[in-house]
Symmetry: C2
Subunit: 360 residues, 2 copies
């Protein structure tokens, strides 16, 4: 049983802790937080030992009625591995604490790739990380995760000559009430490529990709327009099948009448998923188009949760002998990542022309 510590208990940290807690081979050693708030209170209610990142803040937690198990140093001492989910740049500062304990650690995509031993995406490079000596590993960001999950299988199946994506990014998460824009559509960054293309190359070094970022007044999910020029010719049905066979890609069937991220979130909420999380890439079946070697599709990416199962797999890659396929299957089964896994949901990607065409 792996004892997993979680540093930083915000949007990502609380989700990672919950995902770890339901794994058969892991337990939450504790979580560390800077300040007591509603999230810290909830962590205590869930039975996660709560730690104050800074020892001097310990009384603040006690004042808030939240018992504290120790400081960050105590948490690391109690952990076989730490998942650092602190804001961008803080993870790099915390690395010294983890190193002092000789404890392997995972970091999030906000950290600089140069501040870690390696970057990770389960679909792109699980085995390479598992076989390496890397002990301080960064799980790439939500958008990079979303791109890597589709580009890896497409490159294997058809060869990617060049991928181009426009990332229409939500302005902030629902809880980030200080973010914008209001009523605007911003080039972000205005320079090309955005950092996402090069970031994909930290886990898929051989895939040529250019990305452009746009930020808009929405909070639910990112939306990508993806173009891939293949090295070989194929057709849309084949691409739908390739993507539909992926463990973390949900090919959204036409009959579901899912118009956008709001419907996807409703779908996840109706399915009883925690926090309405959408861990999968959601690729619209109706959008998958191939003409010659040029393929296009839309996909939605839930910025709050798509990296969560990746963090769980990264723990196994660093600390166990479990292989990629087994880890992904175990993680997905434990958290309930299963959109598109039932026969009725999977068939549209693989065929079932009756639903989407009169030509049956």
């Amino acid at each position: 049983m792996l004892h997993v510590g979680v540093t930083g208990y915000g949007t990502i940290g609380k989700r990672v802790a919950d995902a770890v807690a339901v794994q058969p081979d892991m337990t939450v050693a504790g979580v560390a937080k800077t300040t007591p708030n509603f999230e810290a209170e909830r962590a205590h209610e869930l039975g996660y030992p709560v730690h104050a990142v800074l020892g001097e803040r310990l009384p603040d937690f006690e004042d808030a009625g939240i018992p504290v198990a120790g400081d960050l140093d105590d948490l690391v001492a109690a952990s076989d591995v730490v998942v650092d989910c602190t804001p961008a740049g803080v993870g790099a500062q915390n690395r010294a604490v983890y190193e002092a304990h000789d404890t392997p650690a995972l970091y999030q995509g906000g950290e600089d790739a140069d501040d870690v031993d390696a970057s990770f995406n389960a679909r792109a490079n699980y085995e390479a990380i598992a076989e390496s000596d890397a002990e301080h590993v960064r799980v790439v960001s939500c958008n990079t995760t979303g791109l890597s999950r589709v580009l890896a299988p497409l490159d294997e199946a058809y060869g990617v000559e060049k991928a181009r994506a426009t990332l229409v990014r939500r302005g902030g998460d629902p809880g980030q009430t200080d973010r914008g824009p209001i009523n605007d559509i911003l080039p972000d960054p205005v320079t090309v490529p955005s950092h996402h293309g090069p970031d994909v190359n930290t886990v898929l070094p051989d895939v040529a990709i250019d990305t452009m970022g746009v930020t808009v007044p929405a909070t639910l999910m990112h939306l990508h327009t993806v173009n891939v020029t293949f090295e070989t010719e194929t057709d849309a049905e084949a691409v739908k099948e390739t993507l539909g066979n992926e463990a973390r890609v949900f090919v959204v069937p036409e009959y579901a009448r899912v118009e956008g991220p709001a419907h996807l979130k409703e779908y996840a909420q109706d399915a009883g998923r925690p926090r309405g999380d959408v861990w999968e890439n959601c690729v619209w079946e109706a959008s998958v188009s191939v003409e010659g070697r040029d393929c296009y599709f839309f996909q939605a990416i839930h910025q709050e949760s798509d990296v969560v199962p990746e963090n769980v797999d990264a723990i196994r890659a660093l600390c166990t002998d479990v292989d990629a396929a087994e880890s992904v299957a175990r993680t997905n089964a434990a958290i309930g990542l299963d959109f598109g896994d039932s026969e009725s949901e999977r068939t549209p990607a693989g065929g079932d022309g009756a639903r989407i065409s009169a030509d049956d």
Copy 2:
């Protein structure tokens, strides 16, 4: 002096009337509107003879204190040419009225290309339309106009092997209070290509282009991410110069610190432009990137006004012997379309490294 009638006096119609009114070779014969409202009142104040599209509605205008010069039939009879700015689909119905008077007419991009003799964009095919027998001509939509204005010169300069654009569309105009989405990012349409690519081919038949549409909660302008794979190699400076030399492309200089559509609208308002209109394509200089034969840039398109100067030119193409260059120059000068025309504004596209780099 050409007598120009304007049918439909909403977002586009009122702007076309004002643009016609300031041309040295045109006058507004009158405008026709279905119902009396604040816009009809203003038309009367501006001295445009107001017509009721439907004769039976004439009393409604009189009740609102707006004198009426006649019905649609009277307006067409008083006009050498009519610009139909009615909602999508209505123009096709009105065509019979214009034909009954043997009066040439222009229509807007919402009409089906099959319902007109030809489609028009001043930069793409002014001369072809002028030399043709076409009398019922459609000015392509705001997004198609925006794409055509950059693809025509880029194709001439470098050859377009393939263009790909994601159109991040505003949900509605500021006055369209019944539109959405709220807090969502919608594939729109979810199928690929969107109609814009084929629509570009109505004025630039030989340019290969694929487009994808996204709709977001914003009202000010559309934002395009554009990728063009050229037939020949070039560099970013050359592309900036090519676009900077275009009469209706504003290469937004880096020093202006224009972050998005809201800043562009502020810029136009501060310049004293009517309604804060931005008639030009606005291409961010900082975004223009070329690597090998792949070029990328962002451009903003003002959906309420970019087709307005095109309608004025289309009038000349249909009714006069004025050539394209003279018409565009005359139209631009009359309405004050001049962003990027002063030395200080144009130089960043052509050079002026001092402002944008320390390497001078």
